[in-house]
C-alpha cells in the first residue's frame, strides 16, 4: 500500500507530500520514505549496506518529525548517505517524546541510484501532524 502521496497544489516550485500511518511510528517511516523518494527514482535502488541509529527528542510530536526528517537531509549532505527508516520507536516520559530510529542505506551512487532532485530543507510551511480516526497523517513541504 502506498503510504504517502505527492501533492500538486502546494508550493509550486517545491515538493509537498502527505503521508500516513496507523501508528505514529509508521507515520515517521512513511515520511522518511517520501523524502527518499523525492531524491531517488526507485527506493529499492538504495541498498541497506550500513546501519545508522538516530536518537532525538522534542516536546512536540510535529517538531520531532521535523527534526527526524531534517536529520535525514543532514546525513545526505554531511555523509552522502541515503537512508531508509527501518524501525522507529517513540516513547513518552515527563512530557518529552524520545525517538530512536534504526535506519539503513548507503552512500550516494549517481550511476545506480537514478537521482531526481536534491532536498535542501524541510520547511514548516503547512507542516502538520494530525491524528484521525484510523491513524495518523502528516503534511510536509520540502524545499528543492
Amino acid at each position: 500500500m502506498m503510504t504517502y502521496r505527492f501533492l500538486e497544489h502546494i508550493a509550486t516550485a517545491d515538493v509537498a507530500f502527505e503521508a500516513y500511518g496507523t501508528t505514529r511510528e509508521e507515520l515517521f517511516i512513511s515520511c522518511a520514505e517520501a523524502l527518499l523518494h523525492t531524491m531517488v527514482h526507485q527506493l529499492e535502488d538504495v541498498e541497506r549496506v550500513q546501519e545508522e541509529i538516530i536518537k532525538l527528542e522534542h516536546t512536540d510530536l510535529d517538531l520531532l518529525l521535523y527534526s527526524f526528517l531534517e536529520e535525514l537531509v543532514f546525513q545526505k549532505d554531511a555523509r552522502q548517505l541515503l537512508l531508509h527508516a527501518d524501525v522507529v520507536r517513540i516513547e513518552e516520559a515527563d512530557d518529552i517524546l524520545r525517538l530512536e530510529a534504526v535506519t539503513s542505506g548507503e552512500k550516494i551512487a549517481p550511476q545506480r541510484h537514478r537521482l531526481v532532485v536534491d532536498v535542501k530543507a524541510v520547511t514548516l510551511h503547512h507542516f502538520q501532524v494530525v491524528q484521525e480516526e484510523d491513524g495518523w497523517r502528516a503534511t510536509v513541504v520540502l524545499d528543492i
Partner: protein
C-alpha cells in the same frame, strides 16, 4: 484563477491589496506585474504576501515581483523592508538557499567557434563541476579553513588563487558581506557544507553556455558597456547558492526563532515558516551574522565554479582565460537580507531589506556600483528555463520604489510532478539536442521537472520589469549547452 476581490489596480503594473484584506496587516501588499502575469499567480501568492505585511516593523509595502509564485513563508519574489530598530528578521524572508544567485561571465568566442567543441566543453564542465544530490567539491579544506571561507567569501578565493581582483569588483558587495562571524554557524552547518565549495547542487541550479545573437540585443550601448561587443558572442551563466551550509543555517535558526518568538518576544505569525525575532535581539543578530556567513559561502562557491570554468575553456581552446576574455559581467544574489539606505517619503532611512527570489537592481549613479557601471546601472541577470533563454538587464532609477529590486527568474507555473507527467527527461534531452542545446545531467527526472513549459514566459516577465521601470532589457541570451544536477 480568481483574483482577490479587494485587489485594486494602481497603475499598469502595480496591483494593491489594502490592509483590510487580512487581519493584522500593517501595510498594503503591492504586486508588480502585467495583467497576463497577474492572472498566472496562484492564490497562495496573495495570501503569503499578506502574511508578510503582518510582520512587525515592515515599511511601506509588502512587495511581490512579476515572477512571483507560491513559496513557503514569503512568496518567491517577495520583498520586505523592515525598520531595523523596531522590525524583525525572518529566515523565511530569505529562503533556505541563502545567496542563491546568478553569475554571468564573458568570453571573446563566437558561437561559430564554440559549436564544433560544444560537446567536449559541456562534457568537461560536467566532469569538473559537481552536480546533483549531495555532491562534493574538489576544494579540500579543514573546518577551521572553512570558517575563513564563511567570514571572507570571495576574498578567501582571491587569497587562494581562485579569483582575480576584477572578479571581486564585479560581485555584489565585492563578494564578501562584512560582519560575518563563523561562530554563529552550528557545527552541523559547518559539517554539512565543508566539502561543498565549487558544487552546483540540483533543482533549478545550472551552468549554461549561451549566445548573444544580434537580433536579441535590445540596447546596443548598454550591451557594449556590459562587454557584449561581438555578434553571436558566447557567454556563460550559472545559478547556484550556499549549498548545505546555507540550508542548515536557515534550518537551525528557524527552530531557534520558533522557540523564542512568542515566549520571549510576544510575536505571533500566520505561518511558522515566517518565524522571526527582533532584528536588534541577540537571536536576530546571531542569525544575521550566520546568514552573512552563508552569503559568503554562496559567493565563494560561485567563484570556485568560475575558476573551474576558466580551466575547462582554457583546456579545450588551448588558450589562457585572459586571452579568452573570460571576465565577469556581474554576480548578484537572490536570497538575502541587507542593511541598506533607501529614501522613504522623502527621507533617507536605513532599512533591513529581505529579498526572497528577487534581485537587487541599482539604477545609474547609485552608490555601491562598480565605476564602469555608473552610467548604465547595475547588470541584472535573470535566468529563464533551460530551454527558452535568459536575460541580461540593467537596473533603472524607477526601482527606488521597490527598494531597488526586480525579478529574479521566470517563476514556475507548474508543479514538479505535473511537469514530470508531461515529459520524460530522456525525451526532453533528445528534443533539446535537436534544437541545438546539448545538456548533461545526472538526473533525467530532475531534467523533466525543469522543462520550459513549467515556467512563466521569460519574455513576458522581463518586459513587465521594464514596464514597471525596475530594470530594462539589454540582451536576451539563448542556451546552446547546459549542465544541471
Amino acid at each position: 484563477m480568481t483574483l482577490p476581490a479587494q485587489l485594486r489596480q494602481v497603475s499598469s503594473t502595480i496591483w494593491e491589496l489594502p490592509v483590510s484584506f487580512k487581519e493584522g496587516m500593517l501595510v498594503p501588499v503591492r504586486i508588480i506585474a502585467s495583467e497576463p502575469l497577474l492572472a498566472t499567480m496562484e492564490a497562495g501568492v496573495f495570501d503569503q504576501a499578506a502574511n508578510v505585511a503582518c510582520l512587525p516593523g515592515i515599511v511601506k509595502y509588502s512587495y511581490c515581483m512579476p515572477d512571483g509564485h507560491w513559496g513557503y513563508g514569503f512568496p518567491i519574489g517577495g520583498v520586505a523592508a523592515m525598520n531595523p530598530a523596531t522590525g524583525v528578521i525572518s529566515p523565511g524572508g530569505i529562503g533556505f538557499d541563502i545567496n542563491c544567485g546568478m553569475r554571468l561571465v564573458l568570453t571573446n568566442l563566437t558561437e561559430q567557434e564554440v559549436r564544433p567543441r560544444l560537446h567536449k566543453l559541456v562534457d568537461l564542465m560536467f566532469e569538473r563541476i559537481p552536480t546533483g544530490v549531495g555532491c562534493k567539491g574538489f576544494v579540500k579544506c579543514t573546518r577551521s579553513e572553512f570558517r575563513h571561507v564563511l567570514e571572507k567569501g570571495s576574498r578567501w578565493c582571491l587569497e587562494k588563487g581562485y579569483a582575480t581582483h576584477d572578479d571581486l569588483k564585479m560581485t555584489e558587495e565585492q563578494g564578501s558581506f562584512s560582519g560575518a562571524d563563523a561562530s554563529t554557524c552550528s557545527e552541523r552547518a559547518i559539517e554539512r557544507g565543508v566539502d561543498q565549495i565549487g558544487t552546483l547542487g540540483s533543482g533549478n541550479h545550472y551552468c549554461e553556455i549561451q549566445v548573444a545573437r544580434p537580433e536579441n540585443i535590445f540596447d546596443q550601448e548598454t550591451a557594449r558597456a556590459f562587454g557584449i561587443t561581438i555578434p553571436n558572442q558566447v557567454v556563460i551563466m550559472f545559478h547556484c547558492g550556499s549549498r548545505g551550509l546555507g540550508h542548515q543555517v536557515a534550518t537551525d535558526y528557524l527552530q531557534t526563532f520558533l522557540r523564542v518568538m512568542t515566549k520571549k518576544y510576544g510575536i505571533t505569525v500566520r505561518d511558522r515558516e515566517l518565524a522571526c525575532a527582533p532584528f536588534r535581539s541577540p537571536e536576530g543578530q546571531e542569525y544575521f551574522s550566520a546568514m552573512k556567513c552563508a552569503v559568503n559561502m554562496g559567493f565563494a562557491n560561485r567563484q570556485v565554479i568560475l575558476h573551474r570554468l576558466r580551466e575547462v575553456f582554457s583546456q579545450v581552446f588551448r588558450r589562457s582565460p585572459e586571452d579568452l576574455g573570460m571576465d565577469m559581467v556581474y554576480d548578484v544574489a537572490h536570497n538575502t537580507a541587507k542593511l541598506e539606505t533607501h529614501r522613504v517619503d522623502g527621507k533617507e532611512k536605513e532599512l533591513l531589506v529581505h529579498r526572497k527570489g528577487a534581485t537587487r537592481s541599482l539604477g545609474p549613479h547609485a552608490p555601491g556600483l562598480p565605476a564602469c557601471y555608473k552610467e548604465t546601472g547595475q547588470p541584472v541577470i535573470i535566468g529563464g528555463s533551460m530551454e527558452t533563454g535568459s536575460y541580461l538587464l540593467a537596473g533603472n532609477g524607477g526601482a527606488s520604489d521597490t527598494f531597488f529590486t526586480t525579478a529574479h527568474g521566470s517563476g514556475r507555473t507548474m508543479s514538479r510532478h505535473q511537469a514530470k507527467k508531461m515529459t520524460k527527461g530522456q525525451k526532453l534531452l533528445g528534443e533539446m539536442e535537436q534544437r541545438g542545446i546539448y545538456v548533461r545531467t545526472d538526473s533525467y527526472g530532475g531534467l523533466a521537472e525543469e522543462a520550459g513549459f513549467a515556467y512563466k514566459d521569460i519574455d513576458v516577465v522581463t518586459a513587465a520589469t521594464e514596464m514597471a521601470d525596475l530594470s530594462r532589457r539589454v540582451v536576451k541570451l539563448v542556451p546552446i549547452g547546459n549542465i544541471k544536477g
